[in-house]
Amino acid sequence: MMLGVLLRIEWLKAVKRRSFWVAVGAFAVFIAIPAVERIRNVHKNPNLSYALPESWPDILGAAAGLGPFFVGVLMILLVAPEFTWRTARQNVIDGLSKERFYVGKVMLLAGLISFFIAIAMLVGVGGTLFSPSEGGPGILRPTDLSYLGSLALSLLLVGSAGLMLSVLIRSSGLALGALFLYLIVEEAVGRLISQAGGGLRRSAEYLPSNILDQLGNDLAHYPEVLADVNSRRMERGLEPREFLDVEVLAIAALVYSALFLGLAFLSMCKRDL
């Protein structure tokens, strides 16, 4: 069966779901609020600017804030009920193999990532049309592309975690609980490890939510902004902020995503429906 058909089946299931549109709408509002605020400020103060490509960090930063969690939660809301409603079983009876059912869910994840990035870009880029500011040359700089790629990886990381929890736990309520519990536990563990210092402290940076934080932080992608922020921090006697290389962050995000997707695949194939 062609991937396009699997995507069409998943899309049909998703767009009929009210929670899908509630999440999409909430996400659009969430990223539109800072854009509207910026535009209002620009109208009040001509020294400020909201234009491309300079404003990409703001546009992508807003999407990177809660976007991954919207995708993770949506994946759980769209996948886990397939087991409680037993529609996963019926899909397999109707002719999808378990493997194809799983591939369909991966296609859904890819679709959600594309859709959320498209919304972020539409809202952000559309917002610049209402701004009197004029941008610099070009629309996208290499650093903007890097940040855009990192946003996609952030969405993939949490979305694949949502898919894994859905397939392992098979209940949307419990899977959501597990996702949030994990984030709380990881934060606590990360804090404990950070206090230990040395090599152990460095290892805490590779925990999934730290990878997520760094991927979504514009400072990790714009060295000139980071240098500026750090010089001001040093003036105030604060330690400079440090980030892992974007390549390292990308590899770590891909490794975690592959692990989550692999576990979901194994569970899907091994367990009865």
Partner: protein, 313 residues
């Protein structure tokens, strides 16, 4: 050609130990193409697990099966495209309309949209097609499941309790649909508790109890297997007691007509000689045709007794 053939098919849930459950125990049966095959058994006897293995949602622990002669994973995928099935309750997306649910099933089966309207019409759901599935009555849900099953015009139709929740009229409609499909040459594998319906509809049956097949064959054979006799004597109590003690007796039941004894062998001379030896002289003896329901109760008595014990505390 066999539409379905199983050989020592077994399913054990959980790893071996006290908590593991042997749901299906080395069952072997065959369903020929064009047969209407009834698959009977009490709740928890392993019917749905067996069907689950056939349709690919449950992995067998051991044994094998083939569909239309195919037993390898690739061949089974192709063979499964020739079947339509529903398991237990109808499983659909509650937030979607009946038509949208069929659109999903049609996309999975690679069927065009015109067929959706045909199937909705066939099960009488055209008027409610745009309503959400969660607003449907159980009978409507069952009919939608039947429509989904028939989308790809399957050669083999597997129905697990299709009459569940239906009123007498609904049951009659389902029976009619099954009869129409059977007349079109479809192979039908029907799991049901409605034994009268199965007896009327099916040509062959298999009865499963505690995961094992206890009877299998043409309905007439299964019903007539071993034979049963209707007996009368001056003292019915003594007759019932004596025939119950007869070694070839499998069950004894009192009816308005007399004592009905199901026997492993229908050797009339031996029975009369045995009863005469017990001082009981028959006033009436005739062959008795058990109904499928009576055979079912006889063969699954253990399960029924267990339920009675549980009920009585």
């Amino acid at each position: 050609m066999h539409a379905i053939q199983t050989s020592n098919l077994t399913k054990r849930y959980g790893t071996s130990g006290a908590k593991s459950v042997l749901a299906v125990d080395r069952i072997s049966f065959a369903v020929e193409e064009g047969q209407v095959f009834g698959f009977l058994g009490p709740n928890g006897s392993g019917k749905t697990t067996t069907i689950g293995m056939l349709v690919g949602t449950i992995k067998p622990t051991s044994g094998s099966f083939n569909l239309f002669g195919a037993s390898d994973p690739k061949g089974l995928m192709v063979a499964r495209a020739r079947l339509g099935a529903t398991l237990e309750t109808p499983n659909f997306y509650p937030y979607m309309s009946g038509r949208d649910n069929l659109c999903v099933a049609a996309a999975v089966k690679g069927v065009g949209r015109p067929r959706i309207d045909e199937c909705l019409e066939l099960v009488g759901l055209s008027d409610r097609a745009k309503h959400r599935f969660k607003t449907y009555s159980l009978g409507m849900k069952q009919r939608l499941a039947l429509a989904a099953t028939m989308l790809n015009d399957p050669e083999l139709i597997i129905l697990d309790e299709p009459a569940n929740g239906l009123d007498p009229q609904g049951i009659r409609e389902i029976r009619e649909v099954i009869r129409v499909l059977a007349n079109r040459g479809k192979t039908i594998f029907l799991s049901s508790h409605l034994l009268t319906e199965v007896e009327r509809t099916c040509s062959h049956v298999s009865i499963i109890r505690q995961g094992r097949i206890v009877a299998c064959g043409a309905v007439a054979e299964v019903v007539g297997e071993g034979g049963a006799m209707l007996l009368r004597a001056e003292d019915p109590e003594a007759l019932a007691g004596a025939i119950r003690a007869y070694p070839e007796t499998t069950s004894v039941r009192r009816t308005d007509e007399g004592i009905v004894a199901a026997l492993n062998a229908d050797d009339v001379a031996s029975v009369t000689r045995y009863l005469a030896g017990q001082g009981i002289y028959l006033t009436y003896l005739a062959p008795y045709r058990l109904s499928l329901e009576e055979v079912f109760i006889d063969l699954t008595q253990g399960a029924v007794d267990s339920m009675a014990e549980i009920a009585s505390g």
